[in-house]
């Protein structure tokens, strides 16, 4: 054992857990005050129209979230996992994807779903309990929500291995993005995905939204090391981006996806952000975190800074904002209506889509249950 090792071992217990980074430690292209800054490694040539487009995404995605929380409070949804505060990380990365790229989400990627063109009403089906997801992943190049923490990172990596085998890596190739959170980085599956992606040089980008909290456990319970630094140990680059900066998330994800497409292998992106709401609607964050922390993060709001940038630089007229408000209201109304009118599935749907090929035992169970249900109807009629 070296002197340094000995010293470290001796003081391990007294070391503080990894603290919060300074803002200088991440890639930022738009400050919380709405000032555009340049980063030579991440040049971003973006038109005013494109920034307005991102702003529209951010606003509408937050509206979807707002409506869903309200619908849960009204008893229309069983639960909802809010993305409040993470809009920029999701919209920035989501808009960095090409039409042929494939995204593997957790259960909180409503903003990415939006960018992939999935109707938010489909998300409500899951949280209402009408289905476990049910959309066609291939139609939107957006996989089903995965609830077991970290499992989807292996699916993404395997999918990327398939992309390699299809010869779809190259200049205009395809790449895969795996979403997960800070808590998931402790899972074996995520670490195995890092290993697989590394040794196979798979075209996959690991996009970690570090929202600081895994339900009640702060980041310090998951890691002593800044998360993006873990990538180096696995043999691929890691980068930390201001997760509340939609421009930085766009630029950093674009670069990593392009590297993956071209055959340069995986990148870990740590989007440094904050879960401004509860873990889900069943959670009570006041039991484990201070209100002051939330107040600090409110000053770094991912939407306000884009608005400030647009207004200060005369990149959007007042009518843009009023029209967007109206569009947001229309979206909210449509979501509320669709949710309230969503019918429960037929009871016999329990038995559907378990197997592709016939299964006599399951069919017998289904028939028995069907007969049982029919008996009630006869009683009512009789």
């Amino acid at each position: 054992m070296t002197v340094n090792d000995a010293g470290r071992a001796a003081s391990a217990d007294s070391l503080p857990y990894g603290g919060q980074p300074e803002s200088a430690e991440f890639i930022q292209l738009l400050t919380p005050e709405g000032e555009r800054v340049e980063n030579p490694d991440y040049p971003l040539d973006i038109s005013a129209e494109e920034v307005r487009g991102l702003y529209r995404d951010l606003v509408l995605v937050r509206r979807i979230d707002f409506e869903a929380i309200a619908l849960q409070r009204q008893g229309e949804l069983g639960i909802w996992a809010s993305l409040l505060g993470q809009e920029a990380a999701q919209v920035g990365s989501g808009r960095a994807l090409g039409p042929r790229d494939f995204a593997f989400p957790t259960y909180r990627e409503h903003g990415v779903a939006w960018c992939r063109g999935l109707d938010p009403v489909r998300l409500l089906e899951l949280f209402r309990g009408v289905s476990h997801g049910g959309w066609d992943p291939d139609a939107h190049r957006f996989h089903l929500y995965t609830i077991v923490i970290g499992s989807q990172t292996l699916h993404a990596t395997g999918y990327a291995m398939g992309v390699q085998r299809d010869g779809a890596v190259g200049e205009d190739g395809e790449a895969v993005i795996a979403y997960f959170g800070d808590g998931a980085t402790s899972q074996g599956d995520v670490n195995e995905a890092f290993i697989w992606a590394s040794v196979t040089n798979a075209p996959v980008v690991f996009f970690c939204q570090n929202n600081q909290w895994a339900i009640s456990e702060p980041l310090e319970r998951q890691s002593r090391q800044p998360l993006y630094m873990r990538a180096h140990g696995f043999g691929f680059p890691g980068v930390r981006v201001d997760g509340n900066d939609v421009l930085a998330c766009l630029a950093v994800t674009r670069k990593a996806m392009q590297a993956a497409r071209e055959g340069q292998g995986p990148t870990l992106i740590e989007a440094f952000t904050y879960r401004m709401g509860a873990h889900t609607t069943t959670d009570d964050p006041t039991r484990y975190r201070l209100a002051a922390e939330l107040e600090t993060w409110k000053l770094k709001d991912p939407i306000e800074r884009v608005k400030a940038y647009l207004v200060r630089n005369d990149l959007a007229e007042e009518s843009f904002f009023t029209e967007l408000d109206a569009e947001s209201d229309r979206l909210g109304a449509r979501i509320r209506k669709a949710c309230r009118e969503m019918p429960d599935p037929d009871p016999m749907a329990i038995f559907e889509n378990v197997y592709v090929e016939p299964n006599a035992l399951l069919e017998a169970e289904r028939d028995q249950f069907s007969t049982y249900l029919d008996a009630f109807e006869e009683e009512v009629i009789g």
Partner: protein, 327 residues
């Protein structure tokens, strides 16, 4: 016809699958240059390349998790789990993801993944190398579970499993890998029995003896020994453990009036319990005796010097058969 060991028959079946469908992949630990610790994949990487016969990192959850991703991309991965006791790191991916993704997607996703698991004891191995975890999987909707018992079935069933569009857990009888039989590897599989059907291995009239995997050979021997004592024991190789071919089981039990289920796995909450319950429900008025089970004890698998007492042998099977005549 070619005389093949069970291990070689699997190898030939895998080779056929790789030849017939470019989307078929083999992945696992040591399946490449080494050819697998039981040589089931011997020579396949040399002939089909490293992209199709993949030596993976040593992590079972990763094997199954990436296989799911490859299947989502249109591939048909065949995963090897090196030993039964090593499947548990992958248990999460198998039960929470592989089994449920079609259901979750309302039928939009198809996952034709095969997971091969050498199972059972009798080879003098150390801990975790002799287990029979099939009931842990038959309890999970969305999976198909099959077990081959001889070279002929091994050759056909592995190909049927690979061409099945549902996920299949494929149990291989470890201590029978070196058993030999004549296998037709020149012709197609048209005449082969579908993998979801049970097979009557020995016809009989007095008692139905249900078994699968490594226990089939033991039960056939028990049947022969019983015949010497004047008892006619019908032996059925279940082959498919999920779904069970209950039609074949019930038809036999209604004829014989007695039923014994034999497996290496612990009796408690094992497949025998499920079969006993179903036979009781469906053959109640035909039964001359309760359905009896013979299998492993409610203990961890013992050290190998004791395994001959743990794994049911001919005498313990016959003892159970005899007891059904005591009612």
């Amino acid at each position: 016809m070619t005389r093949l060991t069970l291990s070689r028959a699997l190898n030939e079946g895998l080779r056929k699958a790789l030849e017939n469908d470019p989307k078929v992949l083999i992945m696992g630990e040591d399946v490449g240059k080494l050819g697998g610790v039981f040589r089931v994949t011997d020579g396949l990487q040399k002939d089909f390349g490293e992209a199709r016969v993949v030596d993976t990192p040593l992590a079972e959850s990763g094997i199954v998790g990436t296989a799911i991703g490859l299947a989502l991309r249109g591939y048909r991965p065949v995963c090897e789990i090196q030993f039964d006791g090593f499947v548990f790191p992958a248990f999460d991916q198998i039960t929470t993801q592989l089994a449920k993704m079609r259901y979750r997607s309302l039928g939009n996703v198809t996952l034709p993944v095969v997971i091969r698991i050498p199972c059972g004891g009798g080879i003098g191995a150390v801990e975790h190398h002799s287990e029979s975890p099939e009931a842990l999987f038959t309890h999970t909707g969305g999976l198909r579970i099959v077990a081959c018992s001889d070279p002929v079935d091994a050759y056909a069933m592995i190909q049927q499993a690979i061409s099945c569009d549902d996920p299949v857990i494929f149990f291989e009888p470890k201590r029978r890998y070196w058993e030999r039989a004549e296998v037709d590897i020149a012709g197609g599989l048209d005449a082969a029995l579908p993998m979801n059907e049970a097979k009557t291995v020995v016809g009989g009239t007095d008692v139905t003896l249900l078994c699968y995997g490594p226990m089939v050979k033991t039960c056939v021997a028990a049947s022969a020994a019983a015949a010497d004592e004047g008892r006619s024991v019908e032996v059925i190789d279940l082959r498919s453990l999920a779904p069970l071919d209950t039609e074949t089981i019930f038809e036999s039990v209604r004829r014989t009036g007695r039923c014994v289920v034999a497996h290496e796995a612990p009796v408690i909450s094992g497949l025998g319990a499920e079969i006993a319950a179903r036979v009781t429900e469906e053959c109640f008025y035909h039964l001359e005796a309760p359905v009896l089970r013979v299998g492993g004890f409610s203990t961890p698998y013992p050290p190998s010097r004791l395994e001959e007492h743990y794994v049911p042998d001919l005498d313990r099977v016959l003892d159970a058969v005899d007891r059904t005549f005591g009612y």
